[in-house]
Amino acid sequence: MEMLSGGEMIARALELENVEYIFGYPGGAVLHIYDALYKDCKVPHVLVRHEQAATHAADAYARATGKAGVVLVTSGPGATNAVTGIATAYMDSIPMVVFSGQVQSHLIGEDAFQETDMLGISRPVVKHSFQVRHAEELPLIIKKAFHIATTGRPGPVVIDIPKDMTKPDEKFPFKYPESVDMRSYSPIQRGHAGQIKKAAKLLLSAKRPVIYAGGGVILGGASELLTGLAQELNFPVTNTLMGLGAYPATDRQFLGMLGMHGFYEANMAMHHSDVILAVGARFDDRVTNTVSKFCPGAKIIHIDIDPTSISKTVNADVPIVGPVQTVLVDMLAQVKTLRKKDKSLPDSQALDRWWGQIDEWRDKHGLWTADRFGTDGEQIMPQQVIQSLYRVTKGDAYITSDVGQHQMFAAQYYKFDKPHRWINSGGLGTMGFGLPAAMGVKLAHPDADVACVTGEGSIQMNIQELSTCTQYNTPIKIINLRNNYLGMVKQWQDMQYEGRHAMSTYEDSLPDFVKLAEAYGHVGMQVTKLEDLDAAMEKAFAMKDKLVFLDIFIDPTEHVYPMHVAPNGAMKDMWLNKHERTS
């Protein structure tokens, strides 16, 4: 049998897991591993400029491909810098395996140089974690880590590796397990047949149904199945922020995003529905508004692979625990069987009335039936930037975003027809995610258009990655919606703090982003007039092999609407613009 050191076993295991990229940063505790990678490993390594960026890039790689992202960082600050990215992946259920170095076993607990209790620090934000105690366990631990990260409800797994576990002169027989069987971990494979039948009957009895689909549909590879079921039934579909792309946005049955900044027609349909089919969504507080007022007339069917998501905040009438893919297959079969028996189901007259109502809502306040934002024809509105981005990329780009107003504008105005195209930190809301994420996506899909929609606040949280983009030639487009404010903070201050803008502006301290981009070897462009917007966007995307930083000056006073009325509002209670609210 082949004899390998711990470091060599890691290198070989990554090859056998078909890992495409390792995102990482070297340091003392992982030097044995880096030496093993250097000597003999087919997997390329991407050297970031900050460990947080390694985790975001790996995370976005995972979101864009469905495969696990892989991160390698050193102990102490390397590990703690990775924590924000691990938490980001955890909140959005993204498969990721993080190798963190650790001080030598005999130094653990002695406050050694660059020692930190990584298992302790990461524990609340990992799906699982391991510390290697015997080097010969490495192959099994790595196999388990990939298995746990990618199955069931996916999530990040940390492997903490004391430096002495990777010593080059200590060799062990290497055999990589083909499969893994854990008595304490066996994700469910099918949903309960009785519950699925109950759900199918309830769906067919619905007069005002809505399908509420979340990120779980994308993670579970069930977008086509969901689309099939929705179209079989002629039911309206709304997606969560994480679910955008799970149902084709340009289809007639799509209501847009729901929730705090959701579409009027989506939130109204949810509130007035009689049956909600929730698929791979978790009734997050940014969706439900006040839970006690949530959709008072609705019976709720909830499909989720994670039982803890079911009836956590909103009680499910028909809970179904299982992978969305197999559950939807079974559900569609049940629906078809029931319809064969009774062709009058579902009640098409009731559905026609429901669609009539929805179309009325759409015509009244829908974001896609007319431009709802004001414009003086000179200042660029942020919504227009996304519209332009959508036109120029023909709706087919991978869009990453940071966190704030720009994120909501992107979610509202870029119509995602395919899953895996919209890459954002939905759960944790991590500023600084967008640029490294775009880098990870571009490496995964080098021929695709990849744009990072961001703002001057977020982009500066990981701006150092412009250097990584130079090194690995990732010609992404950065769309900076520049309003000279932390826009979402400012919006809340406008609405709830009588316009007192505490610490939400940088005054005159912003860098010249054009020069900054150029300093890193990229192209920078400034756009200040609406008439130049489309041309600049086209020019940027025409430069296929250049990273282009588009610094676009937008109306600094604009807010994101609709916006849920809070506190104590229901789904239907929304601000529609600065002056007008529902009810």
């Binding site: 524990r123 974690s129 510390q131 105690r133 854990m182 008595r183 304490s184 971990y185 039982p307 803890t308």
Partner: protein, 163 residues
């Protein structure tokens, strides 16, 4: 409502901190906690008593089950069960109260496991309320030290918690 949740988990380093961390992370209460290896050295058994309404308890059991190190668990309070808490109490015992303490200890079926000229150490086993009642029956100020194991429990009858 008070619940007794009994957990079989992998006897791995860090497993206990995952369980305890889960409770603090999600704002659940731990009233008592007991953990020790079982007859199978690869498994530990952890018993935790907690208080919460049905919704909270359902979340607690689901969240615990989700931990990769947790193999199996049961809410003992859902069925009939035996529960025990072990207590050692050191009390001041001088002069005439020595007889009184001895009598009370007998009534509670406890044992005096250590005797000094001025103190008794008493061992008591039973359900938590019984131990509370014993402590209440001691004269005010006489209790010097109390240590309790936390509740352990097992279901009555044929039902077993094992792999």
């Amino acid at each position: 409502m008070r619940r007794i949740i009994s957990i079989l988990m992998e006897n791995e380093p860090g497993a206990l901190s995952r369980v305890v961390g889960l409770f603090s992370q999600r704002g659940y209460n731990i009233d008592t906690l007991n953990v020790a290896a079982t007859e199978d050295p690869t498994l530990s058994r952890l018993t935790v008593t907690t208080v919460g309404d049905d919704r909270v308890i359902e979340q607690i059991t689901k969240q615990l089950n989700k931990l990769v190190d947790v193999v199996k668990l049961v809410d003992l309070s859902e069925g009939t069960h035996v529960e025990r808490d072990l207590m050692l109490v050191k009390v001041r015992a001088e002069g005439s109260v020595r007889d009184e303490i001895r009598r009370i200890t007998e009534i509670f079926r406890g044992q005096i496991v250590d005797v000094g000229p001025q103190v008794f150490t008493i061992q008591l086993t039973g359900a938590a309320e019984k131990l509370d009642a014993f402590l209440a029956s001691m004269e005010e100020g006489s209790i010097l030290e109390v240590v309790r194991s936390g509740v352990v429990g097992i279901s009555r009858g044929e039902k077993v918690l094992r792999l």
